[in-house]
């Protein structure tokens, strides 16, 4: 019986994260706030208002970002867009790979997506694989009119492993593969910031 082994693996991964060294700070709290305000404006401009707009945050860090965008859109348009949460674990393409340790969380798409303009919201766009999983899951829930993607950070097209681009981008940050971008939000972290991290040299 070995439900514990995974526990150790996760603890090791968390340990790894603690050892990361921050190389540079890309955004602080107020820059992040301004970027989100601009994203909210772009989303309603592009879609001619908030009618039939449905924001879907991708767990984990897409969730508070989608919530904040929904609030900002409500201020701009007077109506709050629909809002949902998506966990893509069960749609990942690396579920059977050794070392993948997928924890399942809940998907909450309570309102029908049929005929809606869906805006998927995530913190970082990197390989595009998360978005592929999100799109597949979304289609299992119905047939939206349109699906768009909003991300706070785009690590650049050269990292993309699938033909997926964002419609709304907070900031494009060219990075190396060895670097890690962390979007820190008060819901999960002590601070509000975006930084580039790297593992210390062995």
């Amino acid at each position: 019986m070995n439900f514990t082994r995974a526990f150790v693996t996760i603890c090791m991964q968390m340990g790894d994260e603690i050892n990361l060294v921050e190389k540079s700070r890309i955004m602080d709290g107020s820059r992040m706030k301004r970027a989100l305000s601009r994203l909210a404006s772009e989303i309603v401009e592009e879609n001619h208002g908030a009618k039939d707009l449905y924001l879907v945050g991708i767990r984990r860090r897409g969730v508070p970002l989608a919530e904040r965008l929904a609030e900002k859109i409500e201020v701009l348009e007077g109506t709050r867009p629909l809002y949902g949460i998506m966990d893509i674990t069960l749609y990942r393409d690396d579920l059977s790979t050794v070392g993948a340790n997928p924890i399942v969380n809940r998907t909450e798409l309570d309102a029908d997506i049929e005929g809606k303009t869906i805006v998927l919201v995530d913190d970082v766009l990197y390989t595009g694989r998360t978005i592929r999983a999100a799109l597949d899951q979304l289609m299992d829930f119905g047939r939206p009119k349109k699906v768009q993607l909003a991300v706070l950070i785009d690590r650049g097209r050269e990292h993309r492993e699938l033909p997926i681009q964002a419609d709304f981008i907070g900031k494009v940050v060219p990075t190396k593969q060895t670097e890690i971008i962390k979007v820190m939000l008060k819901e999960f972290d002590d601070i509000e910031a975006v930084g580039i991290f790297e593992r210390p040299a062995e």
Binding site: M1, N2, F3, T4, R5, A6, F7, T9, I10, D87, T89, L90, Y91, L95, S96, V98, A100, N101, P102, I103, V104, N105, R106, T107, E108, D136, Q137, D140, F141, G142
Partner: protein, 315 residues
């Protein structure tokens, strides 16, 4: 034989810690929503094979496991005793090795003898999930009971749970006693004398009490768990007649009134109406029998997912 990396069996509740139980339950919570979708299917176990190997008849458990596998996109195959080679004289181990040669990822097994899943786990490379072995354990039943209790009571710790009926033969009782006491509940068992081992209290380290009368067990209980009277054993003189059982040990509204006002009633099914549980209790809003069945699919989805490589919530 070498087991593949990350293979995990679920042989019983006894081997699990409270943290592991919580992890499975939390994972199951997150699988519940899938059964409410229009397309009740996620691709998580696509390409995985699950064999349901049932040496004992079962409708609910087998269907529940089968649906769980299908909703995760696994391919599932059902083998029941009538169609198996065992009726042609093959040994259990040979059957297991033959199935193993077809490279399933998980074998869900039910057998009338205790320890069969443990034996299979030693020879098979597939993850083994115990779906009931003799009078030993029925871990997924205890997990779905726990999920039902958590849903209605918020937590298991500190609750008083009465388990009533044929404790002696019940794997449901054993798995539940392990689970509930590990999670901090107090368990009181009662039933006809010949069906309640008198030294049962030593079965677990703490918090298990054998009560002389079922009224004592139900008194002030938060959860009343009724076990099925196994009619197939009715001849064995454990109690005189079914009618007598109903009179002395059946859960009636009058007896249920001894429990807490908001007490809930559980039954693993299939229930014998009018024997271990009266129809008015079974159909009342206190009875959560159909909730148990509903959560059963989510629990089994979580168990299959974890057995084939997923990680429990909170780990």
């Amino acid at each position: 034989m070498d087991k593949p990396f990350r293979r995990r069996d679920l042989l019983g509740i006894r081997e699990l810690s409270a943290a592991e139980i919580t992890g499975i339950l939390d994972t199951a919570e997150n699988f519940r929503e899938i059964s409410n979708r229009e397309i009740k299917k996620v691709p998580a176990l696509r390409g995985k094979t699950v064999i349901n190997l049932f040496f004992e008849s079962s409708t609910r458990t087998r269907t529940s496991f089968e649906l769980a596998a299908k909703r995760l996109s696994a391919d599932s195959v059902n083998i029941s005793i009538a169609s198996s080679s065992l009726s042609k004289g093959e040994t259990l181990i040979d059957t297991a090795l033959n199935l193993d040669a077809m490279a399933p990822d998980c074998i869900v097994v039910r057998h009338s003898s205790a320890g069969v899943p443990h034996q299979l786990a030693q020879v098979s490379r597939a993850a083994i999930v115990n779906a009931g072995d003799g009078a030993n354990e029925h871990p997924t039943q205890a997990l779905l009971d726990a999920m039902t209790i958590r849903e209605h009571k918020g937590t298991i710790a500190g609750l008083n749970v009465a388990i009533i009926g044929d404790i002696l033969h019940s794997r449901v009782a054993r798995s539940n006693i392990h689970l509930l006491t590990k999670m901090g509940a107090k368990v009181r068992v009662a039933g006809p004398r010949p069906l309640v081992p008198p030294d049962m209290a030593y079965f677990v380290e703490k918090d298990l009490f054998v009560m002389p009368r079922i009224e004592d067990a139900i008194d002030g209980a938060d959860v009343v768990m009724i076990l099925r009277i196994q009619r197939e054993r009715q001849d064995s003189a454990f109690f005189p007649t079914l009618r007598e059982y109903a009179i002395h040990y059946g859960l009636t509204q009058e007896r249920l009134d001894l429990a807490q006002k908001d007490a809930i009633v559980l039954h693993p099914g299939p229930m014998n109406r009018g024997i271990e549980i009266s129809s008015d209790v079974a159909d009342s809003s206190r009875s959560l029998i159909l909730d148990q069945v509903k959560y059963g699919v989510a629990v089994r989805m979580a168990v299959l997912y974890l057995a084939t490589g997923g990680v429990a919530s909170g780990e």
